[in-house]
Amino acid sequence: MFSGKVFGALAGAAVLALSAGGAVAQPKDKIKVGFIYVGPVGDHGWSYQHDQGRQAIEKAFPGKVTTTFVESVPEADSERAIEQLARTGHDLIFTTSFGFMEPTLKVAKKYPNIKFEHATGFKRAPNLATYAAKFHEGRYIIGQIAGKMTKTDTIGYVGAFPIPEVIAGINAFYLGAQSVNPDVKIKIVFANTWYDPAKEGDAAKALLDQGVDVLAQHTDSPAPIQAAEARGKFGFGQASDMERFAPKAQLTAIVDNWSDYYVARTKAVLDGTWKSEDTWGGLDSKMVVMTPYKNMPDDVKKLAEETEAAIRSGKLNPFKCPIIGQDGKEIECKGNGALSDEQVLGMNFYVKGIEDKIPQ
């Protein structure tokens, strides 16, 4: 899906550039870069990490680039905010939530000379690029750590919603755990919210009360890992480094690192080389970064580092075939020796060994 679409988008961009004539990108001396965030900058997670990327741009191009951001933009009302940035002289605009997809596309069509970048979406235009990160690579590593660290052979997962992105994370986590511990069981709780610290904490406590001793989370606040800390159990940071909330419990954190990408894309606009593309970066492009492995024995740390290196070099794919579904049947392998990007992005099944059912 991606390679094909990227090619199509590139071809489209070329055609448009030719037909529009004057619209061919020119190097620029000074640009303005705008950001739209779905949450508050202070969420400790998703939006916070995007803002770190924005600050990296400011640092990388002193005097040449000014940045602005609009935080806590409701997805339903985002068109106004995006258009506001477009009207106020921004050259490059990042919209950083899946729900901003349609509004971004709409505004991008209205302002063909402004570059747009939309995170986690799949709709592109000649002046609208997309980008996302392969967080499941990190989840495979933390799965292996969890499989090694658990004493009860029961690991837990606090999910936000049963959507493909979260399901793929759970599968990658469990496959990782299973690869080092065939007896391991997983308990899954959906909080049905991305962000409600108290409820996320309660979900974590429910898992811990039922024998879970290593906990992963795919919700945005540090509450789950903090609950693990309070009980003397282990957890993993989500989206950003959560060590300060759980110095003894955090084994590692999967950090969304947008800085390199944002700096590179800003530079492309400055140089006049920006193109509409799709980027799905993982550990190799440092879009997904693991924080130092802590609070674990040396052999587990070594294993995690080896796995990280193997995934980075492309030797290991968390979804390498054969992948067996819950019914014991092998999932059709549509990629090259592993599940295809499409299959990962649309994942709606649990792998064999997970005893729970996906809530329908």
Partner: protein, 305 residues
């Protein structure tokens, strides 16, 4: 500690902020004023309590700051609905939006800070009793305060002259005014009490429940508190019951998921809300109307001249 005990302990924590906020709103509403700004006052309470607790490294000062912040927000609301006889629904909604925004501003410098847990009150001997020991005698102070508050509010409303005055003003402010009762003054204090309680509930969320602050962390609990008052038919005892049913439903659905009962989590998440609707339905079937609603609730008071 057994799983059963652990579940009960979590339920108490989940129920306490709802109970405190709902009690405050109950007193406000019994005086005839509908304040929909609970969520905003709670958010301000959470932000200010956390800011103060971190700055002065004191939980006590944090709690005081939280209650004060809630009360100040309520005072602003009182100015609008009492001073200018503004529409209560609109003013309350505005208060919520203001509170959520303002709390983000107040709390911004404290994002990422953390507080150590507030130690539970351990009553030696009693807390060693199996099962009920830890449940009843080893909670944090807020829990005991919330139960005490329930009893005090109930006694105040039913047994004191001042409580009677408050209720009669809520039932019919015109008659109360004609009798020479101080409608504005009583309502002002009732609104302030509601604000302080919402602030206290926010302080509990930030200082005990999550122990960090982040924007929007109240996540709709103010609205649940409002629903609880209706659920309880404006009676303090039932607010207690309702808060604990609500807390229990929330926590138990998480446990049901972890235990792989195979019930859809979305449905389980909706259980508390369905329970509220059901309770309302049963109440109105039995009594023909929502019983207990103060007669002047939500009506601006403009005395005849």
């Amino acid at each position: 500690m057994t799983t059963f005990e652990a579940i009960l302990l979590t339920i108490v924590t989940a129920s306490t902020p709802l109970l405190i906020a709902a009690l405050g709103e109950l007193v406000t509403e019994r005086s005839g004023v509908l304040n929909l700004g609970v969520e905003g006052m709670m958010a301000m309470g959470a932000a200010c309590s956390f800011a103060a607790a971190v700055t002065f490294d004191s939980t006590v000062l944090g709690v005081a700051a939280g209650m004060l912040a809630g009360a100040l927000m309520a005072a602003l609301f009182a100015l609008l609905v009492l001073g200018f006889a503004a529409n209560q629904t609109g003013s309350g909604l505005a208060l919520t939006i203001l509170g959520l925004g303002l709390s983000g501003l107040v709390g911004a410098p404290f994002v990422g800070a953390r507080r150590d847990p507030v130690p539970p009150v351990d009553i030696p001997g009693l807390s060693d009793i199996p099962v009920i020991g830890r449940l009843f005698f080893e909670q944090d102070l807020f829990v005991y305060a919330s139960i005490t508050l329930t009893i005090l509010v109930a006694l105040y409303l039913v047994r004191t002259r001042s409580g009677l005055t408050l209720r009669s003003i809520g039932e019919n402010h015109t008659s109360a005014n004609a009798l020479g009762l101080p409608v504005w003054r009583v309502r002002f204090w009732a609104i302030l009490f509601g604000g302080a309680c919402a602030g206290l509930a926010g302080a509990y969320l930030a200082l005990v429940y999550t122990r960090f602050w982040s924007p929007g962390m109240t996540a709709g609990r103010g609205w649940i508190a409002l629903a609880l008052v209706v659920f309880a038919a404006w009676r303090p005892g039932w607010v207690l019951v309702g808060a604990y049913i609500f807390g229990a439903a929330t926590v138990l659905q998480l446990h049901a998921q972890a235990a792989q009962f195979g019930v859809p989590s979305q449905l389980l998440s909706a259980v508390p809300y369905l329970a509220t609707i059901l309770a309302l339905l049963l109440l109105s079937i039995r009594h023909g109307r929502a019983i207990g609603a103060p007669g002047s609730l939500g009506v601006p008071f403009v005395p005849d001249r």
